[in-house]
């Protein structure tokens, strides 16, 4: 399972990077969403899937899965939501101001040289 997950993670990262490099701002944002999914699964996989019970204390259970990756991912999920929200609003704002979502046209000008 770990090996299969690794391949899936690679696939997620590949798709994410491909989207991030594209010209459309929306695709870039979708790409960051996929990237965070990939990262979360990566952390989880690196912790391993051994253990038969969720990490909650209960009578007679000793074989928990690793709780630490889960704690890290929980933080990451919330943060990535914040990032997505900021990205979306930034894209909205940029589109309102500049009337384009073409990354090539959003490259700035030579005024600051």
């Amino acid at each position: 399972m770990e090996i299969l997950m690794s391949v899936i993670i690679g696939f997620l990262f590949m798709a994410a990077v491909y989207l991030i490099l594209s010209r459309s701002l929306i695709r870039v944002i979708i790409g960051t969403g996929l990237l965070s999914h990939g990262a979360h699964l990566l952390i989880l996989t690196m912790g391993g899937f051994s253990g038969s019970a969720p990490p909650v204390l209960a009578d007679g259970v000793t074989d928990f899965v690793d709780p630490l990756p889960q704690a890290l991912i929980l933080t990451a999920i919330v943060i990535s939501f914040g990032v997505t929200a900021v990205f979306l609003v930034m894209a909205y704002r940029a589109y309102q101001e500049l009337e384009t979502d073409n990354m090539t046209l959003l490259k700035g000008n030579d005024e600051h040289d």
Binding site: L12, S22, H40, A71, N102, T104
Partner: protein, 805 residues
């Protein structure tokens, strides 16, 4: 201790200068500043008796003890001589500047702050025993020189000259630092004294020659030796007091100081001897030859300074040669070291006065162009007298100090002819001949300088101002220096005993135990005709004839093509570096975020995959992996399908929904992998995210590929595939091998006893990593404020349009 703190006295005084300059505008700021060098001069005079007997004074202030770096004030014969020059000439220059710089028109505050900063830097250079401190002060002299050359910063030439001097001397300074570091690696200490004491062992080291060459690069750039001299003529854009002080009497001699100070360490190397001597003689010739070409008074003096620095450099080389001669203290080899120091003092005196004369001429006539000047003798008799003393001393004529040092110089060069240890014996003779020719040209430019300016026909219509004698105050300093020049001729051995011999003993400790051992007696007349005297007579005759014929052959300088000069090389190097770097950075810093991301992704892939290959870190192990069930297969298939949909979607709605689907699959995967908290959170967040996307959806543009070309997509795909491959391999390797056991056991064991909770994940978040969670909340709040701001703020563009209407 006191002596170390006194190094910083000028800088401390500089703190008050801006207030004095702005509050007490009625009194020239220079009068206050004058006290600093005068008091320091008197203080250093107090060391003379002690140093004359071979004593040294050491003050030490620990700076960075763990690296063995300290501020020292090491006063021996050499550094005392330099300290006296710095403060003595410094006092005279400040006095001169009071009359040279108009208190109403000039920004005196800046000028004196820079000048005092330089004074500290220069004293630091000559008194630091620690090489790192020496380097720091060394660069500070470059910086203060930069500021002083660019003092009139509205002039293009000033800024150009300032930058040029900085580029060249700082380049040399960095090379020198490299040399110091090598010396540290060899000797294990930054202290010059300690390095001198272990000189024989250092000479055996394989890095010895490298250190030698690097240190020499520092010395050659600072002391304007060929081919680095080109900054000095351009530095003449500085106010004349600065030229007199930094660019003839003190700063440019820092390189000579460095060579003299390191002679005991490097003298063992034949490369040192021949490099220093040959570069010195070449510079001597080059500077004197091109001095005759100049038409600017300060230009002549600049090239003359280059030439004289070369002369002293060659003598220092010859004094290192004495290391290789048995019983050198008894032979003619003993003269070179003495001559070097003696001429250094002489040169500071006569060149300082000549620069001041050039400043006076400039000040009182409004021009320094020698073609417009002439016949000033009758109008400016005192200035003329001072100029004559300085020039004749420079030409090497009696009864002036320059005659004595020129004789000693010729002796030093003659001694090289006897040295046939390393190079072909004829090389010493070649140097001697070149030195003689250079002396002829020195004679010519000395006459050229003084007689073209002060004799001949007066041309008042060419001068911007009507010429008249300078005010008395302006004449004091050059007159004093002129007196010294004459005095040295009559009491050379007094100067020799008190100042020169202690310095010589410091330069050549391999020959002399104490200053009293230096057995050199200077005399104008040796009682019989010596070869040196014959050579001097030859110089005078050849010089007079050539000076007489100067109008006939001066045009010959024009046959040297302008585009082959070193200046042109410097200019084109600078232009090439500037445009080249501009083009280079523009080629990759093209403003496209995609490009920058590609650099980053490619960089990460190369670094990670590269280190995996190098460290042989890749591993796949199927042992102990969890089994794959049909539900997992199904979920992953849905995940892949939704990801592919986001990739190929043509409508934004499709893409967003596919992203949402991927998110829900991830939530379900969390369920399967026994992470209930994650699953819950993911479900909530994913729902809110999709809602947010759909909310923003209305305001966002349609999904468009913006005509992405095939090449563009293929490039992206390659990078994306690289990142994907890297992450897959990384995940496989990481889950297949564990270098260290997981720290999770600690949480599992203590979660109830320490934190009193049952849900381990939640307890980790709110208890063990409570601050982490707190800051996470802070991050979210900041994001919320940012979002609010971006939505609420009015669109600037629309505002503009309103204003236009």
């Amino acid at each position: 201790m006191i002596s170390v703190l006194l190094l910083f006295a000028p800088v401390a005084a500089a703190l008050f200068v801006p207030f004095l300059a702005s509050r007490l505008r009625g009194i020239h700021t220079g009068w206050f500043v004058l006290a600093v060098p005068v008091l320091l001069f008197i203080y250093y005079m107090g060391f003379l008796p002690q140093v004359k007997d071979g004593g040294v004074h050491i003050g030490e202030l620990s700076w960075i003890p763990s690296y063995g770096i300290s501020l020292t004030s090491y006063i021996d014969g050499l550094s005392l001589m330099f300290s006296l020059l710095i403060t003595g000439i410094g006092a005279l220059v400040v006095l001169y500047s009071i009359f040279y710089l108009d208190k109403a028109k000039e920004r005196l505050g800046n000028f004196y702050v820079y000048l005092l900063m330089f004074m500290t830097a220069m004293l630091g250079v000559v008194q630091s025993d620690n090489m790192i401190a020496l380097y720091g002060f060394w660069e500070l002299t470059s910086i203060s020189s930069f500021l002083l050359i660019g003092y009139w910063y509205t002039r293009d030439r000033s800024r150009f000259g300032a930058l040029k001097s900085m580029m060249i001397t700082v380049f040399g300074g960095l090379m020198m630092l490299g040399g110091f570091v090598l010396l540290y690696l060899m000797g294990g200490t930054f202290s010059v004294r300690e390095l001198v004491s272990m000189a024989p062992e250092l000479a055996e080291h394989s890095l010895f020659t490298w250190a030698l060459v690097l240190v020499l690069l520092g010395a050659f750039t600072k002391s304007a030796q060929f081919p680095f001299y080109i900054w000095l003529p351009d530095a003449m854009e500085a106010p004349t007091p600065v030229s007199a002080y930094l660019h003839s009497a003190t700063m440019v001699k820092a390189g000579l100081y460095l060579v003299a100070r390191f002679t005991p360490i490097f003298a063992a190397s034949e490369i040192w001897v021949w490099l220093v001597t040959s570069v010195g003689v070449l510079t001597l010739f080059w500077g004197s030859f091109f001095a005759v070409k100049q038409t600017d008074l300060k230009g002549i003096l600049a090239f003359s300074t280059v030439s004289q620095l070369g002369l002293i450099m060659s003598l220092l080389g010859a004094s290192a040669a004495a290391f290789h001669v048995e019983g050198a203290a008894e032979t003619m080899f003993k003269y070179a070291g003495f001559a070097a120091i003696f001429h250094l003092v002489n040169h500071a005196a006569f060149k300082g006065s000549l620069f001041m004369v050039a400043g006076i001429v400039d000040h009182e006539t409004g021009t320094r162009d020698i073609r417009k000047l002439g016949g000033l003798m009758a109008l400016m008799p005192v200035t003329f007298t001072i100029a004559l003393i300085g020039s004749l001393s420079m030409a090497g004529l009696p009864p002036f100090g320059g005659f004595l040092s020129k004789e000693l110089f010729l002796t030093g060069m003659l001694s090289l002819g006897e040295l046939d240890l390393f190079a072909p014996a004829s090389w010493g003779t070649v140097l001697l001949v070149v030195a003689w020719i250079a002396s002829v040209f020195t004679f010519i430019y000395s006459f050229y300088f003084v007689f073209r300016t002060f004799t001949g026909k007066h041309k008042p219509d060419l001068l911007p101002k009507s010429a008249h004698e300078a005010p008395a105050g302006m004449l004091i300093s050059p007159a004093l220096l002129g007196l010294i020049v004459v005095a040295i001729f009559f009491v050379p051995n007094f100067v020799g005993d008190w100042i020169v011999k202690p310095a010589v003993a410091a330069v050549q400790p391999f020959m002399y135990g104490s200053p009293a051992d230096v057995d050199v007696h200077v005399a104008a007349w040796h009682g019989h005709i010596t070869p040196e005297l014959m050579m001097t007579i030859g110089i005078v005759i050849a010089g007079l004839v050539l000076y007489w014929l100067l109008p006939k052959w001066q045009g010959a300088y024009r046959i040297f093509p302008e585009y082959l000069t070193l200046n042109r090389l410097y200019d084109s190097t600078m232009i090439f570096a500037e445009t080249g770097m501009n083009r280079l950075s523009r080629s990759y810093m093209n403003g496209l975020i995609r490009s920058y991301l590609i650099y980053m992704f490619a960089g990460i892939v190369i670094i990670v995959l590269g280190s995996m290959v190098v460290k042989d870190a890749f591993a796949v192990s199927f042992e102990g992996t969890a089994p794959i069930g049909p539900i997992e297969i199904g979920l992953l298939a849905v995940l892949v399908a939704s990801v592919v949909t986001t990739l190929i979607a043509r409508k934004r709605l499709t893409a967003i929904l596919a992203l949402g689907a991927a998110g829900y699959v991830v939530a379900l995967l969390f369920v399967i992998f026994k992470a209930p908290d994650l699953a819950l959170t993911q479900l909530v967040i994913e729902t809110v995210s999709v809602a947010l996307y759909l909310l923003a959806f209305y305001h966002l543009p349609k999904l468009s590929r913006h005509d992405e070309k095939r090449k563009f997509r293929v490039g992206n795909a390659i990078i994306a595939a690289g990142v994907g491959l890297m992450m897959a391999l990384l995940a496989m390797s990481a889950s297949s091998q564990k270098a260290l056991p997981s720290i999770s056991q600690f949480y599992k064991d203590t979660v109830y006893s320490e934190a009193g909770g049952g849900n381990i994940v939640n307890v980790i978040l709110v208890d063990y990593r409570g601050f982490d969670t707190l800051f996470e909340i802070a991050v979210l709040s900041i994001a919320a404020i940012g979002i609010l701001g971006m939505i609420k703020l009015r669109l600037s563009r629309k505002g503009d349009q309103h204003e236009k209407q």
